[in-house]
Symmetry: C2
Subunit: 243 residues, 2 copies
Amino acid sequence: MELFYSSDIDSSFLTLPKDESQHCIKVLRHRSGDEINVMDGCGSLMLCRILDASPSACRCAILSSEPGFGAHSYTLEMAVCPTKNISRYEWFVEKAVEMGVDRIVPLISSHSERRSVNPERLFKIALSAAKQSLKAGIPTIAECESITDYLNSSRPEGLDMIAYCDSSLDCSKRQSIRSLLASEAEESRPIRVLIGPEGDFSPQEVSLAFEKGWRPVELGASRLRTETAALCAVSAVYLRFMP
Amino acid sequence: MELFYSSDIDSSFLTLPKDESQHCIKVLRHRSGDEINVMDGCGSLMLCRILDASPSACRCAILSSEPGFGAHSYTLEMAVCPTKNISRYEWFVEKAVEMGVDRIVPLISSHSERRSVNPERLFKIALSAAKQSLKAGIPTIAECESITDYLNSSRPEGLDMIAYCDSSLDCSKRQSIRSLLASEAEESRPIRVLIGPEGDFSPQEVSLAFEKGWRPVELGASRLRTETAALCAVSAVYLRFMP
C-alpha cells in the first residue's frame, strides 16, 4: 500500500505538500479521479480522490477516514540523548517508529558531546518509517531539552524509567526493564524511558531523576551503545504488549 | 577497557594480526612490557604482556585467561536473508552482536533480491561490535546458503522459529515470538530464528519449514523491515533471559 502524507486538511478536503504532490503526480503518475491513501500523521488514514492533479499542490476530496490506523496499544515516550554520530540517532528514530513510539525527546546531558539535532530531518525519517510500516501516526519529535529542565517539568502519573551504567551509584533498587514492565506496565499508563549519552548521565542527573520518581532499570548484561540501549527499551515495551 | 583481537595463539603466547598490531603500537603507543587485554573471538579474554612491540606483528605472553567473558546464557542462531541495501544487514549484525548472538546465517530465498554478502566485511563489523560491547566471543558468520539446503540439513533438538508475513498461508497455529519463548525457551535449548527477505518467503519455503518442524511465529502488529524484524527477534530472546 502506497501512503501519502498531508497535514493541510480542512473538513473534507486536503492538499498534499509539494514533495508528496510531486511524488504522487510526477513519479507515480496519478491523475484526477484516482483514489489514494493519505495519512494525517496523527493516526488517521484517509481514502481520498484526486480533484486537482497538480504536481506542486495536489488537491483531494476525503472519501473516508480510519482513525488509529497502525496504532499500538501503549503510550511510549523515549527521552534519548543524541549520539555523537547523528546517523546512529537517526537509525534509532527509524527503528523506534517501525515498532511503535509516541514521542521522542532529544535530551542534553552535561556529558553530551552532541548538543543539537535537526528536527526537520528527524521528522522526515520518522515520516518515511511510518509510511513504510503502515502507521498513520508519526511520533512527535520534541525540541532539544536539558535533562534538568525535562526532569523538573511536571508529568502525569506514568511509569518512568531511567537506564544508566554507572556502577558507583546505588544499584540495589535497580531491576531489569523486563521485570519492571512485566509487573507494572499497563496500556492506560504512559511509559517514559530515559537513555543517557555515550559518557552516561552525571551522578547529579541520576540523583535528580530518583528524586522525581524515576525508576532505575538495567537493560541486561550486555554493554549496549546509546542507540542500541534505546531500541532495546522500545523492544521491551513492544514485546511487553505483544499477545 | 581497550580490547585487542588475535586468533594466532600457541599455548602461552600470541601474535596480534597486522591491523591490531598497528593500532596497539602506532596509535595507542604501547611498549614492550605493557599489559593489554586480548580476546580470542571464541569467548576468552586474555591478560597479556607485550614482548615484542612490533607494529606489524606484536608478540605477547599470555599471563591469564578468562573464558566466557561477556557471554550470554542462551544459544541463538539467526538465519536472516540479506537485505537489498547491504548497510541494513550490516546494521543488524552490529546490533545483534551487541545484544548477543552465536551464529548468523545469510540465507537466500527464492524471493531474495540480494544473493551474496561479503563475509570478511561482516566479520569485521561483528569484531568491532564485540570489542565495543566487551564480549570476547564473536559469532560465526556462515557462508550464504539457500533456504532449502539450510532447512534440509540436520539439526539438534532446539527451538526453531520462522517469522513470515504472508497472511494467505495458514496462520492459525502462529503465536507471538514472545509467548512461544516464554513457554518453551530454556538456556540449554538452542534457539534458531528464520527471517525472510523484503518480499517474504515463498509459500513453498514456509511449507518446507513447517515440514521440518519449524514453528510459525509473528513479531507483533507492526510491519517491520527485514533487519528490524531480525533485531526484534534477537531482542525477544535477549529479554527472555534477562533477570
